[in-house]
Symmetry: C2
Amino acid sequence: MKQQIDALMQQNGAAALWISGAGQHNPAMVYFTGIAHLTGADLFVIPGRTPILCHGPMERDEAAKSGFQLISYADYDLNALIKETNGDLGLASALRYKQILEGINLTKGKVLLYGLRDVGPFLAVIQQLQKLLPELELTGDVNDAILLEARATKDEDEMDRIRAMGQLTTRVVGNTLDLLTSHKVQGDMLVKSDGSPLTIGDVKTQINLWLTAYGAENPEDTIFAIGRDAGVPHSSGTPSDPIRLGRTIVYDIFPCEQGGGYFYDFTRTWSLGYATDEVHQIHDQVLNTYNQLASELRVGINPAILQQRTCELLEAYGHETVRTNPRVSSGYVHSLGHGVGLDVHEKPWFSRPKDDSNILQPGSVFTLEPGLYYPEKGYGVRLEDTYFVSRDGKFAKFADFPMDLVVPMKAG
Amino acid sequence: MKQQIDALMQQNGAAALWISGAGQHNPAMVYFTGIAHLTGADLFVIPGRTPILCHGPMERDEAAKSGFQLISYADYDLNALIKETNGDLGLASALRYKQILEGINLTKGKVLLYGLRDVGPFLAVIQQLQKLLPELELTGDVNDAILLEARATKDEDEMDRIRAMGQLTTRVVGNTLDLLTSHKVQGDMLVKSDGSPLTIGDVKTQINLWLTAYGAENPEDTIFAIGRDAGVPHSSGTPSDPIRLGRTIVYDIFPCEQGGGYFYDFTRTWSLGYATDEVHQIHDQVLNTYNQLASELRVGINPAILQQRTCELLEAYGHETVRTNPRVSSGYVHSLGHGVGLDVHEKPWFSRPKDDSNILQPGSVFTLEPGLYYPEKGYGVRLEDTYFVSRDGKFAKFADFPMDLVVPMKAG
């Protein structure tokens, strides 16, 4: 949680966090400023001090909402520095940062960089700045020991926001089910009132409209994939594909609050009208594995252990897994889950066995999402909910939704 | 244009471009791969070779659509490297990149990094990699001399996509006008059928629904700001504000293709029912300036000259400008325009006088957007269209829309 940051910085010998980039769709910045209409900003977090936010002059009102100490870039004349350096924009930008850092008395110690930005130009400026301020150590928190560690346990407000996203998400999924079952069947295909096939693209457009109407967005798209596509976990689906009976549809939806806030992550697998015996069996195996793992959740467990258990259970059903073959593309081919927050994938990680800080604990928010994939046989199955650990150490989903495979269709 | 890249790389002594990050909402990657469902990838562009795309194993189908040479991360065992390095994730990641770079025979010369990523962890890995491969020079193209220079001139396909976004954008703006005029006036406020005030938030929700329905999104929000907010160029508006007659509304809409493709940028200023004499006068001055500047567009001009001209014209009307006072917050407080493409702000830049490559030329796409801002007087005015330069050197807007200030309302 946020109040751990000073302590985590001290433990890791960090003098400051330097968070850079926009105030939207930029988790590290949004964690501090909230979703803010800042197109480019720099935030310095220093233990015991009010955070310092550098902003463009036209964004002074947005910046002021943060309550932080403000510095306007307009107080530093970049064009004059560009002239002084004979047009060396990298050096001029580094000199401006040097002035800013000297102004806030941050010229020594380890400074850890965060934030979504175009990496190259920023890297070039940081390389120049490093030479100008040799007592600074400008680097990154590659082990997620500070900011991602703090973000890995959510406070009550964050829990409420993720819960609201869970309710919104399952509402959209319920609407989607209604949309599908309201269509007529012709042959093995769903058709619209004009007789043309309902397509994956049609369904995705409607999903986007519901998300927008409810105040969310899905910057990384929604997976609504049928048949072979459902067998490739990150295939998002082919827009022109018609929707046919008796084929698995993997529906994985991971929207965030508008402007780039908290995410939710949720998957169901459906087969319209009927499912083949083989798919029924696979779905049962995934569901059993999901339920078994949900019953084994414990405070203090490293989720890598849960990933191991998932591999054991699915191997016992005769499937190949990532444990036996890291390059596997049929069977169980991914991780059991991941942390969820301002990033759709964040700490705790399910695939890093060695890290003791990487455990399930009160405040953790994470997905459980076992799956089995057989693209060459034309199907895949995944079931996923987002879980949290309460203050008193209880595990629960944020939102309920039935796990049924077969979606009964009305008459054609 | 894309075909310039090899030549630009040779001119700038670059052995390779290394583009990193997602295949969505990541302009540098999308420029090469198109909008692709890749959550994390690395692309290497080397003159005379097919680009090389490194991708996660579950994203092999998406990666294959690029037609590039593919490398799966699954072929490099990161967990084994983490063990070898006793849990040093930064070093392990750097060792994996070393293996990949050696595998494609890229171990010498200047490699320029691009792409939106969390800068810190990547910086730490690059610092390690730099030590492992000392004959590489890993840095950034801070002067926008290669990729941004290529992107600054659009080909016919890019022009068509931006034109389509212009049509979509002006359609949404037309819908917005219809929405406003369809509401009743009560006192000085627009009200809904239940008698409650129509708010900025209501209008923005509807704008988002139209954008979604037409296949676009607005990841950086829309500015729909009234009164004092309209006087602060980057204030996006206060959602709870009612919409009142006789106050300026700055409506600045800059959507992109769904998934993070080409942008459009457009602004009108409206005053519902009537406008004060003062606002009429200011609007006329902005419109005259817009028309004068549009008439002065020439192939080969550095847009910084146009910015100077704008300051001259607006100063002649008695306004303070950024030229006389870089910290100005009333008067003319920003740039006349900017390039538009996969970024909403890109080359050509309007505020960098020294750069000879930074000119208007066939293929350029850019905005013209003079404005005048008086937040303390409760108003602001901006008018903006996105322009292009045709192959034969003609300047034109992509989409027409009236410039009228006053929106006539029906009876209350």
